[in-house]
């Protein structure tokens, strides 16, 4: 197990180096599909959603935050703290709107978002075990946190899936080139 892991590690390092030098198009991506359930409640607001990654011994990295960005005077930021675990891990040290991270809330249904290694909020990933975390908090509603563990670099064809039960639906993380 350890040997294959090491092999994968060196292989990825070589690939990464070649990729940045020659063809950025083959950079690795994290493709995330987040299902926001359609809820039949009297008062529905789209959830605030934060997506971030954690690795033991490293600072958490916020990948995306969907909140009420269009409210006057940045009032939407008032409720960011309700996305509690993300707020504690990463949010409270950011300033908003955060470049490449902030986005408007999204409608129920399947929402797809991709992050490229070495670029944007994801940045370069060292080899190791990571957790991608999706947390949703809804105004006058509930809160749910889902954790998707993955190894970096990923094995070809690796996918991580998890099923939410209240504020989040199915979440799938796949890796692409």
């Amino acid at each position: 197990m350890q040997i294959s892991h090491r092999l994968a590690l060196t292989g990825a390092a070589a690939l990464g180096a070649a990729g940045t030098a020659a063809a950025p198009a083959i950079a690795q991506t994290l493709n995330l599909s987040v299902n926001i359930p359609r809820l039949s409640v009297a008062e529905y607001h789209r959830p605030y959603v934060a997506i971030w990654i954690e690795k033991e011994g490293a600072a958490p990295r916020t990948l995306s935050v969907w909140y009420d960005v269009d409210k006057a005077k940045g009032e939407g930021t008032k409720w960011l703290r309700d996305v509690r675990q993300w707020w504690r891990a990463s949010g409270r040290s950011l300033s908003f709107p955060a470049d490449g991270v902030s986005g408007a809330t999204r409608a129920p249904g399947e929402q797809k978002i991709a992050f490229t290694a070495g670029k944007g909020p994801l940045g370069a990933l060292g080899p190791g075990n990571y957790t991608l975390i999706v947390e949703a908090a809804r105004e006058v509603g509930g809160r749910e946190v889902l954790r998707l563990p993955f190894a970096w670099p990923p094995k070809p064809g690796a996918t991580v899936k998890v099923q939410g039960s209240s504020e989040l639906g199915a979440i799938a993380l796949t890796f692409g080139k």
Binding site: K73, G74, E75, T77, K78, W79, L80, R81, R84, Q85, W87, R88, G91, R92, S93, F96
Partner: protein, 295 residues
Amino acid sequence: MKSRFLIAGALAVLMVSGAAQAHRQWMLPSSTTLSGTDSWVTVDAAVSNDLFYFEHFPMQTDNIVVTEPDGATGKIENAAKGRYRSTFDVHLTKPGTYRIASVSTGVMGSYMLNGKQERLPRGTTKDKLATAIPAGATDVQTAEMSNRNEIFVTLGAPSTTIFKPTGSGIELVPVTHPNDLVSGEAATFQFLLDGKPASDLKVTVIPGGIRYRDALGQIDLTTDKDGKVAVTWPQPGLYWLNASIGGGREGGPGGTGGEGGAGGAGAPPAPRPQAPAGPPQRRAAYITTLEVLAP
């Protein structure tokens, strides 16, 4: 008997928490963790039996001081006093941790004059002590008191500037920041007494919501030699933390630290022995309200 109750009453008013086991003073912020760049908290302040229900007395808000994250003095706004609670707002415009504190210091005591025991007037301060005791007074007994009731609220990321100790009374120094508490995780706080680590200090933690459960759920802790305690929060919610020294009436009926004959209902109370006048007894109390979030 009557005078004993008067004394107990005076103690309850002055000592707030130390002597008044039944009543608990508290301030309750609407939120301890805030985001954005401009937020408000509303604070309820009361003295009550249960936590955090206002059913007894409003807390005085006259001497509440707000310290902003950069050390500047802020203010409370919209202060109002109701029958059972006081309420006020604090406007947060700077990133970091704010302290909202009610601090009082003073001297209480008694002396004998012309064969009668007299008590020092309320509000006597240390520098006015000499004038407060008339010539010819004997058996002078005094106790210096410091009471601190404070809460913390944070806009954005927690900061620690406001935790610089003043060196007076019991103070909390964060090892774990009081606005960064999560159930299931241990939090460590250090307590100082007059600026020095308060070892062997009794610290009591009680979860809020007493009305809806039978057991008080009190957590009793004692500080180590460095004045530190570790608390593992059993569940998310609000907690009332209290630490005090010298609250009991040492030498009085019921023994050291006793509640003045509370155990001997049937027996006639023994006359209060007059301890010799000595160096001032130190009495200090510390109260805070902590919010623990769900993981």
